[in-house]
C-alpha cells in the first residue's frame, strides 16, 4: 500500500522521493528496450554470410573510411548553441522568483540579456551563422 501512496502523492512539496514515479518509469522504459534487444538476439535465427555482414551502402561496394573531417561551420553553430542554451537556463530560477525579486531582479536579468543581445547582434552581423559563404 505504501508504494501506491507514493505514486498518488502529487503534493507540491519538492522532495527527492517525488521523483520516484519518474525513476520507475525510466526503469521500465530502459528495461523494456534492453529486454527486447536481448530477446530478439536469442530468438531470431542466425545465418551469417560474408555478404550479409557487409555494411549496407545501397548495393555499392564500400571503399575507404566513413570518417571524413567535416566543415568547421557545424562546430561554430554548435558552440553558439551551447552559449545561448546556458543563457536560457539562467531564466528558469528567475522565472520562479519573478514576483519576489521585483524590479531589482528584473534589472539584473535585463542587463544580462542586453549583454547577450549585443553578442547575438555581433554574431549575425559578422555572418557567423550564414551557411553559404
Amino acid at each position: 500500500m505504501q508504494l501506491l501512496n507514493i505514486l498518488l502523492d502529487a503534493s507540491a512539496t519538492s522532495n527527492a522521493s517525488n521523483y520516484f514515479p519518474i525513476g520507475l518509469q525510466l526503469f521500465f522504459a530502459i528495461g523494456f528496450v534492453v529486454t527486447m534487444m536481448f530477446v530478439t538476439h536469442f530468438l531470431g535465427p542466425k545465418r551469417k554470410t560474408a555478404d550479409k555482414l557487409e555494411n549496407f551502402a545501397s548495393g555499392i561496394e564500400t571503399h575507404g573510411d566513413a570518417r571524413q573531417p567535416m566543415a568547421i561551420k557545424y562546430f561554430l553553430v554548435a558552440i553558439l548553441f551551447v552559449l545561448f542554451d546556458v543563457e536560457v537556463i539562467f531564466f528558469y530560477p528567475y522565472a520562479v522568483n519573478f514576483r519576489s525579486l521585483g524590479w531589482e531582479g528584473f534589472g539584473a536579468v535585463l542587463m544580462f540579456v542586453a549583454f547577450f543581445l549585443a553578442g547575438f547582434i555581433y554574431i549575425i552581423k559578422k555572418g557567423a551563422l550564414t551557411w553559404e559563404d
Binding site: F115, A118, I121, Y122
Partner: protein
C-alpha cells in the same frame, strides 16, 4: 568598480566598431581612447569618485593596493597598444576582436586585483584566461600558434580545475568563500586538514598561473608559439595580475606560522626552483623570443619573494616590480617584433642601422637585469629588502643575487650583439612615432630608476 564595468562595456564597443569601422588604424585609435578613458576612471576611483554604486555583497573590496595595481595594468596596456598596435593589426584580419579580447582580459585583471571572495577569484581568472587562449591561437595559419593555444588551453583548464577543487575543499572546511575568513589567524594557523589541502591546491594552481617551476612547462612553448604581440601582453600585464591575486590569497599564510605546514619552506622551494630553471635554461637559448620566455620565468622567481616575505615592503615592491618589469618587457618585445630575425644573430649590428632602437633596447634589458639607475634595480632591491626585513632566510637573498648575476649574462648577449658584432640588423620599416614612443618609455624607466617613490607614493595619500 569603475574599471570592471567600463572595461566590459568598452569591450562590447570594440566588438561593434569592428563591424562598422574597416580601417585598422582607426580601430587602434579607438582602443587607445578607450584605454585612456578606463585609466582616468580608475584613477578617479582612487580619489573616491565612483560612477556606479553597486552593492557587491562583500565580494570585492576596493582598497588602494588593488586600485593602484589596476592603474598600473591599464597604463601598461595603454603603452603596449601604443607601441605594438600596428603589430596587433598585422596578426590577422580580426583586429577589432583582438582589442575586444584585450579589454575583456582587463575586466578579469581588475576583478582579481580587488577580490575578497574565492568565487570572484575564480571568475576573474577565467575571464582573464579564456580570451588569452583565443589570442594565443589567433595566428590561425601557423601550426605553432595552434599548438601553443591548445597546450595553453589544456594546461590552463587543468590548473583551473585544481583551483576549483581547492575552493571546494576550503568551502567544505570553513563554509565560506570569503578570504577574510581564510585570513583569520585562527584558521591560518589551525589544523583543519581540509582547508590546508584546499590551500595547497590553490598554491599549485596559482604557481601554474604565474609559471613558477615546477609548473612552468607550458610557458616556453606557449610564449614562443603565440604571436609575439600577445606574448608581450601575456608575459607582462597578465602575469603581474596573477601575482597580485597570489599575494592577496596567501597574505595570512605567510604572516602566521602554521602548526602543520611550513608555508615559507614550500615557497622557498618554489622560488629556488624557479630561479634555477628560469635562469639556467635562458642561458642556452638561441632565439631571443624563447630566451625572453625563460627570463619571464626567472623574473617570476623574483616576484615570488613578495609572496614569501609578505610585509609592507613586499606589497610596495610587488607593485613596483609589476611596473618596471611590465614596461621593460613591453619595450623589449616591441623592438623584437620589428626585427626580421628573432635569433641573437638577428640583432647583430642593430646599433649601426637603428641607433635609437638599440639604445632603448639596451635600457630595457639593463632594467630587466636590474642594473642601477633603471627601474629594474629598485624592483629587485625592494624584493630582496623585504626578505631581509623578515630577519631570516638571508641565504635566499644571496642565492637570488647570484642568479641575478647569471641573468646579466643572457641579457648582455643581446646588447653585445647589437653593439659589438657586425651585421645587417635588419628591421621592418620603423615609424618615427614608434621611436618617440620608445624614447618616452626609456625616460619613464630611468625616471623610476631614480625616483621609485613616484609610483609607491600613490599607495599612501
Amino acid at each position: 568598480m569603475n574599471a570592471i564595468i567600463l572595461s566590459a562595456i568598452l569591450g562590447v564597443i570594440m566588438m561593434f566598431s569592428g563591424i562598422w569601422v574597416n580601417n585598422k588604424a582607426t580601430l587602434r585609435w579607438i582602443a587607445l581612447a578607450g584605454l585612456l578613458v578606463l585609466l582616468i576612471s580608475n584613477i578617479a576611483e582612487m580619489y573616491g569618485y565612483r560612477i556606479w554604486n553597486v552593492n557587491v555583497h562583500n565580494m570585492l573590496y576596493f582598497d588602494r593596493f588593488g586600485l593602484l595595481f589596476n592603474s598600473v595594468a591599464i597604463g601598461s596596456t595603454f603603452i603596449f597598444v601604443a607601441l605594438s598596435g600596428s603589430d596587433i593589426n598585422r596578426v590577422g584580419k580580426y583586429a577589432a576582436e583582438y582589442y575586444t579580447l584585450i579589454f575583456f582580459v582587463l575586466t578579469g585583471i581588475t576583478i582579481i586585483s580587488v577580490y575578497t571572495s574565492l568565487l570572484m577569484l575564480f571568475l576573474g581568472i577565467e575571464i582573464m584566461s579564456i580570451p588569452l587562449y583565443i589570442l594565443t591561437g589567433s595566428d590561425k595559419r601557423n601550426l605553432k600558434s595552434n599548438e601553443a593555444s591548445l597546450k595553453y588551453f589544456l594546461m590552463g583548464a587543468f590548473s583551473t580545475g585544481l583551483m576549483l577543487m581547492g575552493i571546494t575543499l576550503i568551502y567544505g572546511a570553513t563554509g565560506s568563500f570569503s578570504i577574510e575568513v581564510l585570513n583569520n589567524p585562527a584558521i591560518a594557523q589551525g589544523v583543519s586538514f581540509l582547508e590546508i589541502t584546499g590551500m595547497l591546491f590553490l598554491l599549485v594552481s596559482m604557481a601554474f598561473k604565474v609559471s613558477a617551476a615546477p609548473f612552468h612547462f607550458w610557458t616556453p612553448d606557449v610564449y614562443d608559439g603565440a604571436p609575439g604581440v600577445f606574448t608581450s601582453f601575456m608575459a607582462t600585464v597578465v602575469k603581474a595580475a596573477a601575482f597580485i591575486a597570489f599575494v592577496k590569497l596567501f597574505d595570512a599564510r605567510m604572516s602566521y606560522s602554521s602548526a602543520v605546514v611550513d608555508w615559507k619552506m614550500l615557497l622557498c622551494i618554489l622560488i629556488i626552483a624557479t630561479l634555477l630553471i628560469g635562469n639556467i635554461t635562458a642561458v642556452f637559448q638561441q632565439s631571443v623570443k624563447r630566451m625572453l620566455a625563460y627570463s619571464s620565468i626567472a623574473q617570476a622567481g623574483f616576484m615570488l619573494f613578495a609572496v614569501f616575505s609578505m610585509n609592507e615592503m613586499a606589497k610596495e615592491g610587488i607593485i613596483f616590480y609589476a611596473v618596471s618589469y611590465s614596461l621593460a618587457t613591453i619595450g623589449v618585445f616591441a623592438v623584437l617584433l620589428k626585427m626580421k630575425d628573432f635569433t641573437f644573430e638577428g640583432y647583430n649590428g642593430l646599433a649601426k642601422s637603428q641607433p635609437v632602437l638599440a639604445f632603448a633596447n639596451t635600457v630595457f634589458l639593463l632594467s630587466l637585469a636590474g642594473i642601477p639607475l633603471t627601474a629594474g634595480f629598485f624592483a629587485k632591491y625592494f624584493m630582496l629588502a623585504s626578505v631581509i626585513q623578515t630577519g631570516h632566510y638571508l641565504w635566499m637573498v644571496i642565492v637570488a643575487v647570484l642568479f641575478a648575476a647569471v641573468s646579466v649574462y643572457y641579457y648582455f648577449r643581446v646588447i653585445q650583439a647589437m653593439y659589438f658584432k657586425t651585421g645587417e640588423g635588419e628591421t621592418e620599416n620603423i615609424h618615427p612615432g614608434f621611436k618617440t614612443g620608445l624614447i618616452i618609455l626609456t625616460v619613464i624607466i630611468i625616471l623610476l630608476g631614480v625616483a621609485p617613490n613616484l609610483i609607491i607614493n600613490f599607495l599612501y595619500f
